[in-house]
């Protein structure tokens, strides 16, 4: 552990990265066909699969003219044997809680578009996250996968007709008659781990095991912070917290992450049907 600490003083980590460098990431969308949108993210050893299903349901009572998002995280036993049965529930609740908080901000997604009939029907997006392999930094990878899956989500258009006072809904069967969700301002979670006296972005499993405390923040493309959470048994100095958020790391890294993700997603969409979806067959 000492080795790792000494490393960081000179901005050089175990695998040669700087303190603010992410590991190599790969994304792929449209992996599962039963869903309205899906994505798979591989961040070194971490493998996460997200599926989004859009269903009609009743809106939340306090927001009658907006759609809803429901997050569900499933830690598969493939990742670690400790997740067998109900072992992974604590971690799952943490991740879904953090994502809920990050997406709670009204500026992120235009949920009004998801409203069909105010007070009665709206689109509910069930976002299901499946953790397939744990290689450190689960929160960041999960948020990236969620954003990619939402980008890929296609919601069928609904026509509302009024027939003698009774509302009738008609969901279009045409696979091309769909609307997409605007995810430009959706947040990504950036986790900063404190190891020794410095903090690093994207901790690997080894680094996570020797970190004292973590600060997770949801950051959007233009630098707005939507959620903040401190985790871990160590304590953080208030100045270092400020440092992490304001001066630099958090915001900068968050913006860069969002930008790279959007570029990659747009690139993939441009390739369109030419690229084969390989999924796990690669």
């Amino acid at each position: 552990m000492y080795f790792v600490c000494f490393f960081l003083k000179d901005n050089c980590r175990e695998d040669g990265r700087g303190c603010e460098d992410y590991r190599h990431m790969e994304i792929e969308t449209n992996v599962v066909s039963n869903t309205s949108g899906s994505a798979r993210v591989r961040l070194a050893n971490t493998d996460i699969l997200v599926g989004v299903k859009a269903e009609l349901g009743a809106p939340a009572p306090e927001k009658p003219d907006k759609g809803r998002l429901e997050f569900f995280v499933d830690c598969s036993a493939n990742a670690t044997p400790e997740f067998e049965g109900r072992g992974g529930e604590e971690l799952a609740t943490e991740i879904s809680g953090m994502l809920n908080r990050a997406y709670d901000c009204p500026a992120c997604l235009d949920l009004q578009k998801l409203c069909v009939i105010p007070n009665q029907q709206c689109w509910v997006l069930y976002i299901d996250i499946l953790l397939l392999e744990c290689g450190g930094n689960l929160f960041d990878a999960a948020s990236i996968a969620v954003k990619a899956a939402l980008y890929n989500t296609k919601i069928p258009t609904v026509t509302v007709s009024r027939d003698e006072g009774i509302m009738e809904l008609e969901i279009s069967d045409d696979p091309y008659d769909v609307q997409k969700i605007e995810v430009k301002l959706a947040p990504c979670i950036v986790t900063l781990s404190k190891i020794g006296h410095s903090h690093v972005v994207d901790a690997s499993q080894k680094e996570e095991s020797c970190c004292l405390a973590r600060l997770m923040m949801g950051v959007t493309q233009n630098g707005t912070i939507t959620a903040l959470k401190k985790e871990g048994s160590g304590s953080l100095d208030p100045t270092s917290v400020e440092d992490m958020i304001e001066v630099g790391t958090g915001k900068r890294v968050g913006e860069a992450l969002n930008k790279s993700l959007t570029t990659a997603l747009e690139e993939e969409e441009r390739q369109g049907t030419k690229s084969k979806t390989l999924g796990f067959l690669r």
């Binding site: 599962v32 066909s33 039963n34 869903t35 899906s38 050893n45 493998d47 699969l49 599926g51 989004v52 299903k53 269903e55 569900f72 499933d74 598969s76 036993a77 493939n78 990742a79 044997p81 067998e84 049965g85 109900r86 069930y126 299901d128 499946l130 397939l132 392999e133 744990c134 290689g135 999924g279 796990f280 067959l281 690669r282």
Partner: protein
């Protein structure tokens, strides 16, 4: 069922296959690096991942304990599932998988340890058990765990007086009889057999034979894939004959 005929007069099924044709199978060994062994299989539209871990818990003295877990992703079915595992169907599947692999693994070579088999269904379009068994077999081979033989599974049904092989979700939910068989292909021994719905006993042997033949075909495909994988890796390793 109004509209859709399971078997047309020309001998074509709903998805265009003939009665004896299997769905397209694609597979890959060694998908994950952290598990001892892993595999991914696609049988038509059904996609299953399997991972194997060996753990060192002192349980049985003279042989290994085989532990399975079957879980389905909540987005795998057409209608969203509430819980990935823990419901009765999953527990039944888990038990079946465990029985199947208990018979196939050479258990006395691993005393005092446990082999965990974790199966995750990513997309479900019928034949979940069969795809799970095939994926788990590939994963066990990838992990280097000694097996008596491959375990291949296949399903069959009986429609309009002819047995059809490898049924998909629509054919499963139509109420026709369904037979699922898992065999050790070389010795032609059956390790698991299950039947649903009603079937006249005169037709039973025909349908079981069809399913067993289906297993043999699956075995050919899996064997080719394993051989390809082994020969590629061995070449890179530089192992000579």
């Amino acid at each position: 069922m109004a509209g859709l005929e399971l078997l047309s007069d020309q001998g074509f099924r709903i998805d265009g296959r003939r009665v004896h044709e299997l769905r397209k199978i694609q597979c890959r060994l060694g998908v994950f690096s952290q598990a001892d062994g892993s595999a991914y299989i696609e049988q038509g539209n059904t996609k299953v991942l399997a991972a194997i871990r060996g753990s060192k818990q002192k349980t049985l003295h003279d042989k290994v304990l085989v532990n399975c877990q079957y879980s389905m992703a909540t987005f795998s079915t057409g209608e969203r599932k509430r819980r990935p595992r823990g419901d009765r169907k999953s527990q039944e599947m888990t038990m079946h998988l465990r029985q199947t692999f208990d018979a196939a693994i050479l258990t006395n070579l691993y005393p005092r340890s446990q082999i965990d088999i974790f199966v995750e269904v990513l997309q479900s379009d019928g034949g979940n058990y069969c795809a799970s068994v095939n994926a788990a077999t590939l994963a066990l081979i990838d992990a280097g765990i000694p097996l008596k033989d491959y375990v291949c599974a296949c399903s069959a049904s009986f429609v309009n007086d002819s047995p059809i092989v490898d049924i998909n979700y629509l054919e499963e939910s139509s109420g026709k009889p369904e037979i699922i068989v898992a065999t050790l292909p070389k010795s032609e021994q059956i390790v698991f057999l299950e039947m649903n719905s009603r079937l006249h006993e005169d037709n039973l042997s025909k349908v079981v034979d069809t399913a067993v033949k289906g297993c043999k075909d699956v075995y050919q495909i899996l064997d080719t894939a394993v051989r390809d994988h082994v020969s590629q890796v061995a070449t890179v390793h530089g192992w000579e004959n």
